[in-house]
């Protein structure tokens, strides 16, 4: 009896805190077995690399919370990136504004398809995944463009209060999104829509507007990630930026304990999910494992992490 109870408790604990435990375990492993791991520079690198994925994953977590999914985030990043060189002549602010506007439009478009036309999220956003990058390439005339505007590039290189700009942005956004989910009517409505849409309708929630808002937000966040990645790369590269980002983001969200069935959003978990996957990648590279092994190990880690964090059906 007590054994059973202990097991139940352990399970619950793992479910709740599994990602954190995994992050800690991986950190310990690296400290023990990876050369030069314990250095400020190294942690900076990990955070800087994780920042764009994290920003995208925040938006993805919201979408997943509504029982949806957004496959077009990578394409949206490309769209945002493709616009930057066109407007950078007018200064970084207009360029960034245009990029974010593109993200907003892309997201709103997805949201419209999902909320007002009732198209299933996977298919609705698949259309933009297929066409969006093409559009970005058309805008950019198919070319990578080297950027030279120092103010814009500073976004990718400078620190504020000793923290890289990208990391700072990701951190602030994470806090804001967490507050949005936990404290606002919008956040409540979002989770309720994901948990039981029909009930949301009858409770007088603005279900469609909430969905539209969630996808729009996801689009904007993807665009933010696109801007930051572009600044970091010091080039607008619509062909490659954000490639397979949708899968990375979804993985991070799910590994972080947000179920794909909606009705629940875990923001801190999502951030930890991003950190976990980043550490996994870093570990594999640092130990110079060949691509084949790296991919198989990643697969195994995803399965184990999600297995531990899954919602158990009692039997």
């Amino acid at each position: 009896m007590t054994i059973a109870l202990d097991r139940a408790r352990t399970t619950r604990w793992l479910q709740e805190y599994g990602v954190y435990a995994a992050v800690v375990a991986l950190l310990l492993f690296n400290i023990a077995f990876t050369a030069n791991f314990l250095s400020v520079g190294n942690f900076r690198t990990q955070l800087v690399q994780a920042a764009p994925v994290c920003i995208v994953a925040l938006g993805m977590a919201l979408v997943i919370g509504t029982e949806g999914v957004d496959l077009s985030v990578g394409a949206t990043m490309a769209l945002a990136a493709s616009l930057i060189p066109l407007y950078l002549g007018a200064g970084p602010a207009p360029a960034i504004a245009m990029a974010l506007l593109a993200g907003l439009l892309a997201g709103t478009f997805n949201g419209f398809l999902v909320a007002y036309l009732g198209i299933q999220p996977i298919v609705a956003t698949l259309a933009l995944l297929v066409g969006g990058r093409g559009l970005a390439l058309v805008i950019a005339n198919g070319q990578l463009v080297q950027l030279h505007d120092p103010a814009f590039l500073a976004l990718g290189t400078e620190d504020v209060l000793g923290v890289p700009v990208g990391v700072l942005v990701a951190g602030v956004l994470a806090v804001l999104v967490a507050l949005l989910v936990g404290r606002t009517t919008f956040g409540r409505a979002l989770v309720a829509v994901g948990g039981n849409r029909a009930a949301g309708v009858l409770a007088g929630l603005p279900v469609r507007r909430v969905l539209l808002g969630v996808y729009a937000l996801c689009g904007v966040l993807a665009a933010v990630a696109g801007v930051l990645s572009t600044a970091r790369l010091s080039a607008s590269d619509p062909a490659d930026i954000g490639l397979l980002m949708e899968l990375s983001a979804i993985t991070a969200v799910v590994v972080g304990g947000t179920p794909l069935t909606g009705g629940r959003v875990r923001i801190l978990g999502t951030v930890m999910g991003v950190v976990l996957m980043q550490l996994v990648r870093a570990t594999l590279i640092k130990h110079n494992l060949p691509d084949s092994t790296a991919q198989m190990v990643q697969a195994a880690i995803i399965v184990v992490a999600v297995y531990v964090a899954r919602e158990r059906s009692s039997r």
């Binding site: 066409g131 058309v138 794909l260 084949s292 198989m296 995803i302 899954r310």
Partner: protein, 329 residues
């Protein structure tokens, strides 16, 4: 295809308007296909050439085999993202196995890809993990395995020119490649299994309302395991066919094929939420995709960047149309 496959499930026999609407909805892809083909035939003189049609059929056959498995998976309410990787892996294994003869070339990919599909199924059915994430992991795993057996992709296994296995992908009847007939036969069989066997009924029941199906005594777990295994086997088989056709186990194929397969299944009218769908619809979806692709080629002057924009827009149009037809009902 035969009458059994064409018959939409549970035709409501009552009012005619309802019937028309339901046919439009269920066979939306077929109707769109007819329209698109007619337009292409009129607009592009070379579209109707035997060579073009043969190539169209052949190219469609590989995707059709993969999408067949995907149809089963999606009807159970699941999704299989690993098919693209398994397709590539299957091709490599077939080429590798061909050195020991026909049977090895055929069985090796079926066994390995089937085993990965089985693991997908076990994880989905027994642990309650989301199919999306389970198959995403096996997408990575299968790619990794493929790289491992090809020295990080540096070795491409060739099928010896005299090998009997080559005939499978390269033989023709009336100029149409064997894969066309094989895919047609598989789809026919798949349609029959889906519509006319208890297993097929279990597939529909599992996707329609899993909890109810369980209470009604449907072997839900076994059904899920079976469909993921089937999807794995079929992807591996499509890979083997492709390898035979290409004479080698090419490592660079199959990237993004899962999205192709999902979109053709959806275009074919199968609900992503599960519980409804037809094999015929999927076949039509495959046809539609490849005809559009072919038309883009016929135009010839379309900038390569615009091609994906057109594909995306097209997918959107079909899905929106289909949705509005469903709504109308």
């Amino acid at each position: 295809m035969t009458a059994q496959m064409t018959a939409p499930p549970e035709t409501p026999a009552k009012p005619r308007r309802e019937l028309v609407a339901s046919v439009l909805q269920r066979q939306g892809a077929a109707i769109a296909l007819v329209v698109v083909v007619a337009v292409a035939w009129l607009a592009f003189p070379r579209f109707g050439s035997p060579d073009n049609l043969r190539d169209l059929a052949l190219q469609s056959s590989f995707l059709a085999v993969i999408a067949l498995g995907m149809t089963f998976v999606i009807i159970t309410g699941g999704i299989d993202l690993s098919v693209g990787s398994l397709y590539a892996l299957g091709g490599v294994l077939a080429a590798y196995g061909s050195q020991w003869g026909f049977l090895a070339a055929l069985l090796l990919p079926l066994l390995v890809c089937g085993a990965i599909g089985l693991v997908n199924g076990l994880l989905v059915a027994r642990t309650g993990m989301a199919p999306f994430i389970v198959t995403l992991a096996s997408l990575l795993f299968a790619r990794g395995l493929l790289l491992a057996i090809t020295d990080e992709g540096s070795t491409t296994y060739q099928i010896a020119p005299g090998s009997a296995f080559l005939e499978l992908g390269r033989g023709t009847v009336f100029g149409f490649g064997y894969p066309v007939f094989i895919a047609a036969a598989l789809c026919l069989l798949g349609g029959l299994v889906l519509r006319r066997t208890r297993f097929g009924q279990s597939v529909f029941a599992t996707g329609g309302a899993e909890q109810s199906a369980l209470l009604m005594g449907v072997p839900v777990a076994r059904t899920k395991i079976a469909v993921y295994t089937l999807s794995g086997v079929l992807s591996g088989f499509a890979g083997a066919l492709t390898a035979s056709y290409l004479q080698s186990g090419v490592t660079v194929i199959g990237v993004g094929t899962e999205l192709d397969a999902i979109s053709v299944v959806v275009i074919g009218g199968t609900l992503l939420t599960g519980g409804a769908g037809t094999v015929l619809g999927t076949v039509m979806g495959v046809g539609l995709r490849n005809v559009i692709q072919n038309i883009i080629n016929q135009i010839g002057t379309l900038d390569s960047n615009y091609q994906s924009v057109v594909s995306g827009a097209f997918l959107l149009v079909v899905v929106v149309l289909q949705r509005s037809l469903v709504r109308r009902r």
